[in-house]
Amino acid sequence: MLAWLLVGVPLGAGALLACAGRRADRAAPALGVFAATVTLALAIAAALRRPEATAPLLAGIDARLAVDGLSAILVVTVAAVTLAVLLFASGEFGQGEARSRFTGLMLLFVGAMLVTVTATGLVLLLMGWEVMGATSWALIAFWWREPQRVRAANVAFLTTRGADLGLYLAAGAALAGGVGSLTLAGLPRATQPWLALLTAGIVLAAVGKSAQLPLSFWLSRAMAGPSSVSALLHSATMVAAGAYLLLRVQPLLAASGWAAPLVAWVGAATAVALGLVAVAQTDLKQLLAASTSAQVGFMVLAAGAGGVAAGTSQLVAHAATKSALFPAAGARRHRGWESSRHPRCSPSSLPLPRGGGVVARYRYRCLLPCAGRRALGEWLHLERAAQLLVVRPTMALARGLAAFDDRVLHRAVMAVPAMGLWLARRSDRRAEVGVDGAVRAVVAGARRLGVLARRPQTGQLHQYYAQAAVALFVLALLTVWLR
């Protein structure tokens, strides 16, 4: 029951608020903070009591939630960060903004993350995972009147969903490999070759969600959302989900043989490359975004290297830091400090609004040298590569097929009745005229015979005698000839 409540409270409250419309705007921030507080209380209770809950979902596949050691840390982190972010967000939006929709979506987003980290099987994990992606789309596109924000949301959602396909394949591979219940704990028992496909699918999904190389670019676009969205998305949810999944299935990575080193290398490469990208950014939010990707790289590296505890502590520490940094960056913007330089390059006496922000920023100031690397500024051109290699060919193929559908396939089908009509007209003109002409010829012939038949009837007796004589003569000839 406790486990259901833990995910049910944010999901239920979020769904209600998101559907309530503008009527609930005034009450929404307070309700959101209240729901987040309740969730935090439930999370702490769950961390202490370690509840479990099971419900039937599909044939032979149950929906089961459980809070174990790893989940306990995550649910408390997620709930605590959510409460902090919602408190900040209650000041971020003005009177006219759709605060009810915002708060509702945030709660749905968090609820989905809680489902992801407490699910013990692939189905429920995938459900939370994908709902999280969709709500992040709605949150990034929160200011929907501005097309570039919507486009950014589309990029983020499509990239992560493309990676999510790995989880669909993983579920199928698990079933084929003999893990009928699809539980995460049972995955390493899958038989080859399904084990390889299963591992590859999970790694792909986690890499996409965590914005690791080569799929890091969506995180840059995700900055288009409100600051509080970035704070949540970059700290305890979304990007953290990928790292969490890899930490959770660490036995599977080890069992596969090749996946653990691969994951470690991906994490290490991301940590270095995106760290450099972060250094090269001139926009504060972009800097933070790239550094998120790099920091998550350390968690991924830990998962690959088998250091679950190390990865988890990095996750918690990063969540705490980042959730404080984004509100700070957002607040700077609010005060008109539209930062085109990163902190170290700007005047050193920047008044950061909250104490936590100063501490958090300080940690980064120690780490970052001020080196303007323009080459890295564009996030290694990863998005442009995806555009060139995937999006444009797909769109071209789509247009080509649509043209084929209209101009070739549809016309080919429509040619069949057209051919029928053509045949009909042709037979109307040719065959019909012939038959008609034959009938007319018969009629004309009969008429002429009729005219001829009237010729002998002259009414004069001597001519009748002559005709009878000729007829008798012909008959006689005929008789002679026939004998």
């Binding site: 599909l58 032979g60 919507v150 084929a176 789509a398």
Partner: protein
């Protein structure tokens, strides 16, 4: 019980036909709603009392030639019967604002409801065929009489194309009849004796005929070209019924007739079905991605969604290399997809009808930012779009997840390709949402309306009216209920799919 559910709308139509059309049109509309609501209530009663297996059976001998009136429901047909009656109720409510030749419109839809429900409960090939053909006739008149644009041309294309398909179907049925000893059209008896097992080419030809008949109706690539014009020019309710109910007659035919009656032929040609399914998935999704017309786009996504069903029923025939749990999962997913697609696509087409009603255009390029003046419309469209792209929490996910998971073992490459379909549908729906609903406001001028300054036009796109909301929102609510708590539906379907899997693997 079943006959009552089937013939109640027809009986109501006969009674209403006696009332002159000059009487207030609201009488017809409200009696239609009342009849549809009673039908839904009867279906709910049947659902609650459903004992499992083949239930509510009625059997009458009709002619000596092996044709009979045999009806019953099982786990494959009961969900479709329920979905059909719910969709007709939604269409009845949506039509409250109908003003054009109301009497004949109502009579036609009552007739269509009898035909549609009748088809799903029929257990006799000839009875099935009669309903199959009558549905084409009814829909022809709906499109030709109440459509817009080139409605008559589209209706004629639809009629001729699907009618030719139904002739192929009839040939196949006769082939089955002649093979059985004693000759019979009874589906249950034919499933028991499966007379074409081991008959080689004869079985192949019969499956080809039956398969083409159902493939045209479903429709699958390359037999789908009648669908986009028919949808684009049909009235909103016509499209909803066409996509929601009539397309399911094809897919239902596969699980009710083709698979259990021709088990070994089905297994032999299952790879062909899988390939047709995957091609439909990818082709439908890609062509939909390139559309500019919202309704045409939704029509092509139907081709995509029906492709998943073919993939699943094909994979269920690939017995080697997969266990029964996976194949049963795929079939359950296929039936769930029929219900789910019916609800979601009907909602999408009714929403497209709102677009047409307000501005007379489906062109996505001429709209922008509708979320401003019409937030409820935008929210409903967004929900319907996300459920159509298979987001968890909506019914589409429950269906597609089972299809993919169940099909991967037996049709690995095909399933891996088909999964790409949900990414492309995500792309096309996000694109459509962005163009229609988000961004700065732009609304095309309604036909005939004087061009007004843009400031006034801000308030021209009215949000969902009461009848529209009352018809569309319950459909979406059902989609969410199935997506979150699917057990009430899966408990009905799962035993039937296990039975079907056993029949196919004989």
């Amino acid at each position: 019980m079943l006959s009552l559910i089937v013939f109640l709308p027809l009986a109501a139509a006969v009674v209403l036909a006696a009332i002159p059309g000059t009487v207030a049109p609201r009488l017809f509309l409200w009696s239609w709603i009342a009849v549809a609501a009673v039908d839904v209530a009867l279906v709910v009663v049947a659902w609650i009392g459903y004992p499992g297996g083949l239930a509510y059976e009625e059997k009458l001998r009709w002619t000596s030639a092996g044709v009979g009136y045999h009806v019953a429901v099982d786990g494959l047909s009961l969900p479709l019967v329920a979905m059909t009656s719910v969709l007709f109720l939604a269409c009845a409510i949506y039509s409250l604002r109908q003003t054009q030749r109301v009497k004949s419109f109502v009579l036609l839809f009552l007739f269509l409801q009898t035909v549609s429900v009748g088809l799903f409960v029929a257990l006799d090939l000839i009875l099935f065929f009669v309903y199959f053909d009558l549905s084409i006739v009814g829909m022809y008149f709906v499109i030709a009489g109440w459509g817009h644009g080139q409605a008559r041309r589209a209706a004629l294309t639809f009629f001729l194309y699907t009618f030719v398909g139904s002739l192929a179907l009839l040939l196949g049925f006769i082939g089955l009849y002649l093979a059985a000893n004693p000759h019979t059209f009874d589906i249950v008896e034919l499933a028991r004796s499966h007379p074409l097992t081991g008959r080689g080419a004869y079985g192949g030809l019969v499956l080809l005929a039956v398969g083409i008949g159902f493939a045209v109706k479903t429709p699958t690539v390359p037999f789908h070209t009648w669908l986009p014009p028919a949808h684009t020019d049909a009235p909103a309710t016509g499209s909803a019924i066409l996509a929601g109910v009539l397309l399911k007659m094809g897919t239902y035919g596969f699980v009710r007739i083709a698979m259990p009656l021709l088990p070994d032929t089905w297994r032999a040609y299952a790879p062909v079905v899988v390939v047709v399914g995957v091609v439909s998935v990818l082709y439908g999704a890609l062509v939909a991605l390139a559309q500019e017309d919202f309704k045409r786009m939704v029509a092509y996504t139907s081709v995509n969604h029906m492709g998943y069903i073919l993939l699943a029923v094909g994979a269920a025939g690939l017995v080697a290399g997969s266990d029964a749990q996976a194949r049963a999962l795929a079939v359950t997913g296929a039936v769930t997809q029929m219900v789910s697609h019916g609800l979601i696509t009907a909602a999408l087409f009714l929403l497209a009808g709102v677009l047409w009603d307000r501005s007379g255009s489906y062109d996505m390029g001429s709209y922008s930012g509708l979320a401003g003046p019409a937030p409820v419309f935008a929210g409903a469209t967004g929900l319907a779009a996300f459920s159509s792209l298979g987001l968890p929490g909506f019914s589409g996910f429950i269906a597609e997840f089972q299809i993919f998971t169940g099909s991967l073992a037996s049709a690995t490459v095909a399933t891996a390709l088909a999964v790409l379909g949900i990414l492309i549908t995500a792309g096309l729906f996000l694109r459509a949402l962005q163009r229609l609903l988000l961004g700065p406001l732009r609304i095309p001028d309604a036909p005939g309306a004087a061009r007004r300054p843009s400031r006034q036009s801000d308030h021209r796109f009215a949000d969902l009216r009461r009848s529209e909301a009352a018809s569309i929102l319950p459909l979406l609510a059902l989609v969410v209920v199935i997506g979150v708590l699917p057990r009430f539906l899966l408990d009905i379907i799962e035993p039937a799919s296990t039975t079907l899997i056993n029949l196919v693997s004989r």
